[in-house]
Symmetry: C2
Subunit: 360 residues, 2 copies
């Protein structure tokens, strides 16, 4: 394969000139430019991005970390980011940390550092090392900061705080590199529960994805739990921790949780779920056990994945503007990567409780 040098030779110019043409600096005369372009076409020259990256320290690559790509909310997010990124010449490295059998997130960060990604988007929870066990994290995050690599989190401000703190990074100086996009999970959860309470429900379950990691790893879940508790308190319904349950973040997990809860002496009549797949699993299991939705059982999900409105019955859920968030995530990363001015480093998006057929 021809290199830039070959092009220079063919066009009878220096490599510097070819480079200038390639990078669109218009300091090259029209006819020289034309000669170079002709040579490029003639030889079928393709620039070697690895060499370029090696030189410039920019890979035009960003990484997306997601918990489980099999939860439909993440493909929706990824898809938007990919479209936006590609438009600007960036390519996506996908990291899903999924079932726990793979590497932990710190390992991802190390690998991505070695690969010189230009920016990182982190979705959802982040497994933050324990106090006193942060050496690896500290090192890698300081290296990132040193390199001015920007991060955008779709998570919770508070979680980012812990992350930064454990990384022992000086936020006074580096705050601008870390953006958080979030939604008011506490309020969203509160509203869902309140809606159920208003309809007369007293036994309301909270079904969530695995809670193996909690504080400070899973602040998004903690927020939802708080909203749930707040609504109960307000309605003078005593908190019953038997009604707070977790399963794998998929249909099966939801179904299992339902079965388990139905075995209680005084089973719940309403289910608030931290994700739509869980909620749909609950609906499935409810139907299996002969329960009528919403007459006997009410279910509310979270996220509003596409399938929610196609289900039978249509799922009531909390709609999250995931595409808008995804677009904003890349936009901010882009501004940061190119050292343009960027807005304040936190932004909260509105959610909306959408009542359809699965709840009364």
């Amino acid at each position: 394969m021809p290199t830039l040098k070959d092009v220079a030779l063919a066009a009878k110019v220096s490599t510097a000139t070819v480079s200038l043409v390639l990078n669109g600096k218009n300091s090259v005369s029209p006819k020289t430019t034309e000669r170079v372009l002709a040579a490029i076409d003639e030889l079928g020259y393709r620039p070697n991005m690895v060499a370029r990256s090696f030189k410039t320290k920019q890979t035009k690559t960003i990484a997306i970390l997601v918990p489980t790509i099999t939860n439909p909310i993440y493909p929706a997010f990824i898809h938007v980011v990919e479209m936006e990124a590609r438009r600007e010449g960036y390519t996506i490295i996908l990291c899903s940390y999924d079932d726990g059998s793979g590497p932990v997130q710190t390992d991802f960060l190390e690998d991505l550092y070695d690969r010189n990604v230009d920016g990182i988007i982190v979705c959802g929870i982040f497994n933050i090392p324990k106090e006193g066990n942060t050496r690896k994290l500290e090192r890698i995050m300081k290296a990132y900061v040193n390199r001015k690599t920007p991060f955008v989190f779709y998570s919770e401000e508070e979680q980012l705080q812990y992350f930064i703190q454990r990384s022992n990074i000086d936020m006074g100086v580096h705050a601008a590199l870390f953006h958080t996009l979030s939604i008011d999970r506490n309020q969203a959860s509160y509203e869902a529960v309140k809606h159920l309470v208003t309809s007369g429900h007293r036994r309301i379950a909270l079904v969530s994805e695995s809670t193996r990691f909690l504080f400070p790893h899973n602040i998004p879940y903690m927020k939802k739990l708080e909203g749930y508790q707040r609504a109960l308190e307000e309605a003078n319904i005593p908190f019953d921790d038997a009604l707070v349950i977790a399963g794998s973040d998929d249909y099966r997990g939801g179904a299992q949780c339902f079965v388990e809860l139905q075995n209680l002496e005084n089973p719940p009549t309403a289910y608030v779920c931290t994700g739509d797949t869980l909620a749909l699993g609950v609906l499935h299991a409810a139907k299996n056990s002969g329960k009528i939705v919403p007459d006997e059982i009410s279910v509310i999900g979270f996220d509003n994945i596409p399938v929610a409105s196609y289900w039978n019955p249509k799922l009531s859920t909390i709609a999250v503007p995931i595409e808008t968030i995804a677009r904003e995530a890349f936009k901010r990363l882009y501004l940061l990567m190119n050292e343009f001015e960027s807005p304040p480093n936190r932004l909260m998006f509105d959610t909306e409780l959408v009542i359809r057929e699965s709840s009364v």
Copy 2:
């Protein structure tokens, strides 16, 4: 950030020695090794993969091309590939060519070439340039072949043939670089239709994802169509092209197709769909219009995505061993990338017609 040179200095050895240690050649004496390791740890040295790739021409990166990441079958595929790949130190670049507004596949191939990916997995259809319009494709594919980059297609042998032919590559020499994993779509489709015919259906629709691109772009679809036609012929049911219809490859598309077909004078009683999301969309629309499934309407999908068995009613479908295929896809790519012996370059997997509640 410290470089290999810094490590060499600190350990009082040459850069070559550090490199040897780093790459696990055990030609270095234990105590030297230890000194080097100590220096690495001391300095917090991290290898620069870009520099390494620049030198070795290996990026430890593979690309996955999928049509629409929002169709749940692809996340399932991607997830398995990612797990397998990461275990071997490879990272995934995701390319979804989705809604047509983005780049065409040839452009992806160019970008990936420039980025020096070590191997490529292509799922589904491939938009092959017209005869006489293949210059770009030829060039890029010849460059890939020249570099010995392996490809694994989850598609149809025939489609690969066209692709190779248009690329003007000498298959006599390079066949081993191109593997095809496939399923017998013709037969699967045939069996689905036959099952419906046996149950007494005479008006059977074929609902597919957009057929904007057909031969030779969408051989997978062509195969399904052939199986459909074969089963009809065998049952002496005349082919009616009003019953062959396409929509966007999602729930909405399926729902729209159903509505359209119901407006026919003599609407179908059974729906064979080329994907589960389409089938679920059909079920949704059927319910909306008051049709009873499976008493009045039968529906069969394709792929057996996770949600299929959780639907109400549970979807009858053709089960595809997508995880096995994904595992095999990476395995072959891996063997090829590392120039190990690999099996014959085509393999067909079995599918299974799973009758659940949506069909009689």
